[in-house]
């Protein structure tokens, strides 16, 4: 028996330069076990060579292929067509929200990368520092756990920023990925980072919609990290209040004037 074939209509968001955006429709025969990105690539290969979109690795590592599929943020290279539509169904493909559209499905994520650098997000980190999902750590020889180095969970795909209702109305909010990056880096003893996240554009701006955690394809749990960061910031501020005399706090207050 040959693999089943589905007919799926791709409605793809198109925008070039200053022209008004519109949707183009492409009816494709696909296998339900292909990924959404495969379909988009086929549109580009056989129907419209002017379609602009971003991808590279095809295995959820580069973070380039984030888009909205039927409204929801997805990493399209690992999103099975089977999971997001049915035979004869529609796939509405739109660029991520909250980033400027460069062309069609490609958005300018410069601001995210800049901010990730600001919080010193590292592509690799020591597993020992990472409190998240300890059960997911590889079982190593006893006593050598400290030596593990692993890739950071966050692939900087921007899906969480696209899904966040606050990032949507207020671009100066640092955003979930950035705060998660700060959390991962750690604010202990890092005055610059503490100031950055303890600001009206930092952890206090979150309003608990937890969409970031829902869409994150890489189990970063930005929502949880923002809450944990809050706890750490409150703890730090209280410690200083009772120990008194930290000119740093005064700095922070002064800067708001």
């Amino acid at each position: 028996m040959s693999t089943p074939k589905w007919v799926v209509t791709f409605q793809i968001y198109r925008k070039k330069g200053n022209a008004d955006p519109h949707f183009d429709e492409f009816k494709l025969e696909v296998s339900p076990d292909e990924y959404v990105l495969d379909g988009i690539e086929r549109v580009w290969a056989f129907h419209d060579r002017s379609l602009a979109f971003r991808h590279a690795c095809h295995h959820s590592t580069c973070g380039a292929c984030g888009m909205r599929v039927n409204g929801a943020e997805k990493l399209t290279c690992i999103t099975l067509i089977r999971d997001v539509t049915q035979d004869g169904g529609v796939l509405r493909i739109e660029p991520m929200r909250n980033f400027p559209v460069v062309s069609d499905l490609a958005v300018d994520m410069g601001i995210l990368y800049t901010r990730m650098e600001m919080v010193e997000h590292q592509p690799v980190n020591s597993d020992a520092k990472e409190a998240i999902q300890p059960e997911a750590r590889p079982a190593g020889p006893v006593g050598e756990e400290e030596d593990y180095i692993r890739l950071s969970d966050c692939i900087e795909c921007g899906l969480c920023i696209s899904a966040c209702p606050i990032s949507g109305s207020s671009p100066e909010y640092l955003g979930p990925a950035v705060l998660a990056g700060a959390h991962q880096h750690g604010i202990k003893g890092n005055e610059q980072l503490l100031k950055l996240v303890d600001s009206e554009d930092g952890v206090w701006r979150c309003h608990s919609a937890f969409e970031c955690t829902a869409v994150c394809p890489s189990f970063v749990e930005p929502g949880w990290r923002i809450m944990d960061l809050r706890k750490q910031v409150i703890g730090e501020r209280f410690k200083r209040l009772f120990r008194g005399s930290s000119p740093k706090i005064i700095d922070t207050m002064e800067a708001s004037k």
Binding site: Y13, P100, G168, S208, M227, K231, I234
Partner: protein, 130 residues
């Protein structure tokens, strides 16, 4: 619609209340924001209305008669429901922010929302039957 837009504040605010393709937690955010606005409006309205108390018995008792008309009673039920939703949801957000249960926020929200709905119904029944 996409990108860091130059849209008006109102159309930006409208996006908060769009639950399409979002999860249950966004319902929490939306409810919190709507009840916040509603309760704030009620708070200041209430403060102004209570000024009637200072104007003596006739003014106040007349005011009470108006307030006991069905439409105001319905408003009162809305305020109570909003209070339950906002208050209970607020407890979740406070706990999460102090590092308690943020991983279980979805379940917490559903439990607290159910409590809010049940309590609001009990109050509604009592108010309308008394």
């Amino acid at each position: 619609m996409t990108g860091v837009s130059k849209t008006s504040p109102l159309s930006r605010a409208a996006k908060w209340f769009d639950p399409r393709a979002r999860t249950i937690s966004t319902i929490g955010f939306i409810l919190n924001r709507i009840t916040a606005l509603g309760l704030s409006f009620y708070l200041f309205l209430h403060l102004i209305m209570l000024g009637q108390l200072a104007q003596g018995p006739q003014a106040y008792d007349g005011f009470l008669a108006t307030v006991h008309s069905p439409i105001f009673v319905f408003g009162e039920v809305l305020v109570i429901a909003a209070g339950f939703i906002h208050g209970l949801n607020g407890i979740r957000i406070a706990l999460n922010s102090f590092g308690v249960g943020a991983r279980y926020q979805k379940a917490t929200f559903l439990v607290l929302l159910s409590i809010a709905v049940i309590c609001s119904l009990i109050f509604a029944v009592r108010i309308f039957t008394v």
